[in-house]
Structure formats: structure tokens, C-alpha cells
Point group: C2
Chain length 319, copies 2
């Protein structure tokens, strides 16, 4: 089914023009009408245009009447323009059926929209890294995107990492807490929210951080050392955010380097430490993050979660 | 005058044993009695001992009756143990004359103590990078430390960077706002607080972030790209923290690399952008940060600030 997809750049300047072109060609090859924002390739310092330019691009996307507004790429630039976004217009566009899709820096937009209006947006690919991937976009990502376009795709299932259970064997202290995340339980009607850990944490204490109680919080990050991931998770812990959730879903944390100074400190250490400090189950291996294979997730949608040992099923109603 | 200095490790494991020894020898050569915590050189993963070990070390420092409790080094490790600190005992030790001195990760301790009790601690050197510096510790740092020990040293003066004014010439939009920071004005009786930007920001939204109104906020950081510095400053901006201060003092921001993607975006760009968004004057070049030459600053002390063009004078009463 042919859809109207609007491409715009609210964050970093597009440097990889080849990926940009490949992405557009791919969406067209899939049969869609692709509309490119006039400033999609604009560059100002590290940004895709100055603040006013990027705000205007966002609002053109809002006004475009497209089925999907897809960011060209993430990077950095949304947090500084959050006060200038017309949230009611965004919510109205969502109400009229527009799906805002993006990742990474786009987390700031998505959670600000959720905080200000409750409107649902989609964590998913960006044009360049997603549809512009060489030689081929990821099949699962494309299938999930197509599900969204067709109004299908009402859930996602995956298996948690084994590493977690192996560690539990090694560490008595964490055994009890780990069993929480691998026992059989289910959660109903919980708001799914989250995104990039660094970007989400950078909204804490501001009016753009959603006050979600009894939710399902998903998190991913890229190029952040586990000690930094831990410091951010600790901020969410000490602020009470984690305890207010019914589950925490950890996606993919990639592209960091452990150091000799770490002496065994690693991401799993962080997860074990955190799980010892909260009752909320922490589930791992959500297929979302700065990786090719990722699902699309409705930020702000009521969702159900089912866990049976390592197997997890996340289901949202018709959004 | 001989003082009793207690060395302990609340954060990262000490790897540079030579610097540790040099630091102790230096303090002894200055005539002081140096007491070393039994776990000062303990190592667990990247930490100077597990959480219980580091908490016990902090409380031994508190109970030591020393004139100064000086951290061996920063690193990472304090945020995760903040709930376990006996803040009233820390405040009591401060009341009895103990000066807690440290930097970097120690920002978490200092601001948590301020938030919980209002007690004053000192942003200054750590043992290894400060007194253990090779071939010689910095003279100004040592003189400021000695002033603290002697109960003198009630202020600090410096000149703001020229770069700021040059940029103002280049940029009409920022000219007006920049003049705020280089005009002649003074501020009385404002609480001085702050420290490492990353660590301080990681406390936002938690019970360990001080609620200071009408204060003077000082900030420094190391190995953070200007876009990350901006994202953190933006969080302080959007949370209303900056607008509640009478002045923001930027110290030294060091050890980052600009990228070709930045295309002219740099730290000065960040300062200019921020100053356009707040009335609070942003002053630069405070001699504090991850640099050898740094002053000691009383976190939580009522202070006066005088600005005459580029010249700044910060004065605190007898602490």
C-alpha cells in the first residue's frame, strides 16, 4: 500500500549523502511517495540548520499530512529546541494518523511530546542508518516498518541473554533478584516509553521528562562505557523513576570499549548491581538500539508484557 | 602549622601508586601528619573497594578527627553509594572543623552533603593528581590549600578569557547578552556551589541535588565534547536551575577533541548560545577544573562576587 513519507532533519547535519539517497531510493522502491523537506540537507555547524531552521522543518513535517514523518538521522540538536516545538500541533497530527518515527536524539522529541500531550510516536529507524544501510536494509526492521504502515504489528517477542543467568550462578547475592526477571509473570496496560538512555536522562528534572507511573521503560545506548550507563541508571534509580515502573527493558548497548582499569566491571555488572537495588524486573536483549535489526516501538502506548523464563512478549493494542 | 590529613578512597581504585606515594611524601614534607585509610589502596573492579568498603572508608574519614579529609583520587563510584552516607555525621564533623576536600566524582558527595545538611565542603585537589604531581605540585594549588589549613584564603580573583569578547564582535546576536558578563556588577551573600558538570547533572531529579536559589554555580569538566557540555547545560537551563542563580562561573573544560563534523561548533559557541537563553551572567575562566593550577572553593559557602569587565573577584567570608 503506497504511503506518503516525509523526510526531515531535526538534529545533526547529514554528512553521508550517499546513505541519504540510498534510503530515499529504497522507500521509493517499496512503492512509497517520499517527500523531502527543503532543509533536510542543510548544514549549520554540526546541526542540520540553525535552531529556527530545524524547528521550521519539524513544523513542516507536522503540517505535511504525511502518513509517516521520518527523521534523516539522529546526532544531537533536539534538546536545545524543545521549548520551541508546538506540542499541540504534533498531538493533532498524531490524532490525524501521522506516525513520527526516529531514534537516538529523537528520544528528546518523543518524550517531550509524551510529557506535554500524551501523544504516541514511534521509536524505530532513521532514514540514513536504516533504509540507507549498505548493501541492504535489515529485513526485520523493514518488516516492522511495513507493519506500522499497514496498521498491523501489534507486538514483539524476544529471548533474554543467557549471560545473565550464568552470572546469577556465579553470584549468590544476585541470584534472588535475577530470578525476578526470568520467572513467569505478566503485566497489563502499562505505558511503554523510553529510548536512548543518555538523551532520556538529559531530560530529567525538566518539563520534558514524562511522569509515567506503572510503565514499561525501554532503554538503549551507543558509545557509552558501562560506568556511564550505570551512572545514568543510578540517576533514574535515585530519582524514583525506576521504582515507579512495572518493568525495565534493556535494549542493545553497543560500541563501547572496556578498559584495563575496569578489572571485570562490565555491562552485566551494572545490570546485576541495579537489580539488587530495585524490585522492578530488568529484562535484557530487547531488539532495539543502534543496531540494524530493530523493532518499532510505540512510545506512550498502553502495552502488555509477558515473561516466561528467557522468553519475553511485548504487545500493544491497535495504536 | 602541622595539620592532621586523612587520605581515603571513596571512588575509583588507585592505579598510580607512585603518584599516591609522592603525594603522601609531599604532604609530610610540608610538615603534616598524614593518616592513610586502611582501604585507600583497595581495588574491586574499577572501584577502590566494593560499595560497603568505600562507605566504611568515608565514615572512618568522618570519625578520624582529622583537620582535612582528602580523597586519593576521583574516577567514578560515589553516586551509587550516596544513599548509604550518614550525612548528619558528615555535617557534625564539618561543624567540628573538618574540611572535606576533593574534585571530580567527589562533586556527588559535596552536593549531596549540601542538599542534605547545608554543610560546607571544599572543591580542590585530590592527593594523586594534586600533591602527587610530577615533578612538582602546582604552587598556586598548594598555596590555596595552605590558606585553607591556616584558616585564611577567603577569596580568589581571575580574568575572563578574551576569546569571549572577540566572538561577541563577530556575532551581533550575542553582543548584548555577552555584555552582561563583562559589565561592572556585584553580587552579595550568594551560596557558592557546583563542581563537575557531568557529576552534578547526574544528580538532577534526585534527593542529592541541592535546591539553591540565588546562588553562584561553578562548573568544570574533562573529556566531554562541547555538544555534551551543551546538552548538560541545557538540562540545567530547562530545569530552571540556571535562571535561579545569580551567576554561573565556568571553570576549565579540558581534554576533548573537536571533530570535522563540528564545522565551527566549539565551546565558545555553547557559551554564546546559553547566554542568549538566560539573564544570569555566565563568567568564564574560573581557575578550577582538571588542571594543575586550581583554587580551592567552599561548596555551600555564602560568597560575594565582583565583576569589572574581564576581572572577577570571588570572596567568601571566614568559613
Amino acid at each position: 500500500m503506497k504511503k506518503h513519507i516525509y523526510i526531515y532533519s531535526p538534529s545533526g547535519a547529514v554528512r553521508d549523502k550517499a546513505a541519504f539517497k540510498r534510503g530515499i531510493a529504497r522507500l521509493q522502491a517499496l512503492g512509497h511517495e517520499v517527500e523531502v523537506d527543503p532543509d533536510a540537507l542543510t548544514s549549520h555547524q554540526r546541526f542540520a540548520g540553525d535552531d529556527a531552521t530545524r524547528l521550521a522543518a519539524i513544523h513542516r513535517a507536522v503540517d505535511s499530512g504525511a502518513d509517516v514523518a521520518l527523521i534523516s538521522r539522529g546526532g544531537y540538536g533536539l534538546t536545545r529546541i524543545l521549548p520551541g516545538i508546538h506540542y499541540k500541533k504534533v498531538a493533532k497530527a498524531v490524532e490525524n494518523g501521522m506516525a513520527f518515527v526516529g531514534i537516538s536524539d529523537f528520544t528528546a522529541f518523543q518524550n517531550a511530546v509524551l510529557a506535554k500531550t500524551g501523544a504516541i510516536t514511534w521509536a524505530g529507524p532513521a532514514l540514513c542508518e536504516g533504509f540507507g544501510a549498505s548493501p541492504e536494509p535489515d529485513e526485520i526492521m523493514e518488516a516492522c516498518f511495513d507493519d506500522l504502515l499497514q496498521g498491523q504489528g501489534e507486538g514483539s517477542g524476544w529471548r533474554q541473554t543467557l549471560d545473565r543467568r550464568k552470572n546469577a550462578m556465579d553470584n549468590e547475592a544476585t541470584g534472588a533478584s535475577l530470578s525476578r526477571a526470568t520467572s513467569t509473570f505478566s503485566i497489563q496496560d502499562a505505558v511503554l516509553w523510553g529510548g536512548n538512555l543518555t538523551v532520556l536522562t538529559s531530560l530529567l528534572g525538566t518539563p520534558y521528562f514524562p511522569e509515567i507511573k506503572g510503565g514499561i521503560l525501554f532503554l538503549e545506548d551507543v558509545a557509552e562505557h558501562p560506568y556511564r550507563i550505570e551512572r545514568m541508571l543510578t540517576q533514574l534509580l535515585h530519582s524514583g523513576v525506576l521504582a515507579r515502573q512495572k518493568a525495565v527493558l534493556l535494549g542493545q548497548f553497543t560500541d563501547y570499549k572496556l578498559l584495563s582499569h575496569d578489572r571485570g566491571f562490565k555491562l552485566q555488572t551494572v545490570i546485576d548491581w541495579l537489580q539488587q537495588h530495585i524490585q522492578t524486573p530488568i529484562l535484557t536483549n530487547l531488539p532495539f538500539g543502534h543496531v540494524p535489526t530493530k523493532v518499532l516501538l510505540p512510545v506512550g502506548a498502553k502495552s502488555d508484557l509477558g515473561v516466561e523464563g528467557r522468553d519475553v512478549m511485548l504487545v500493544w493494542g491497535h495504536v
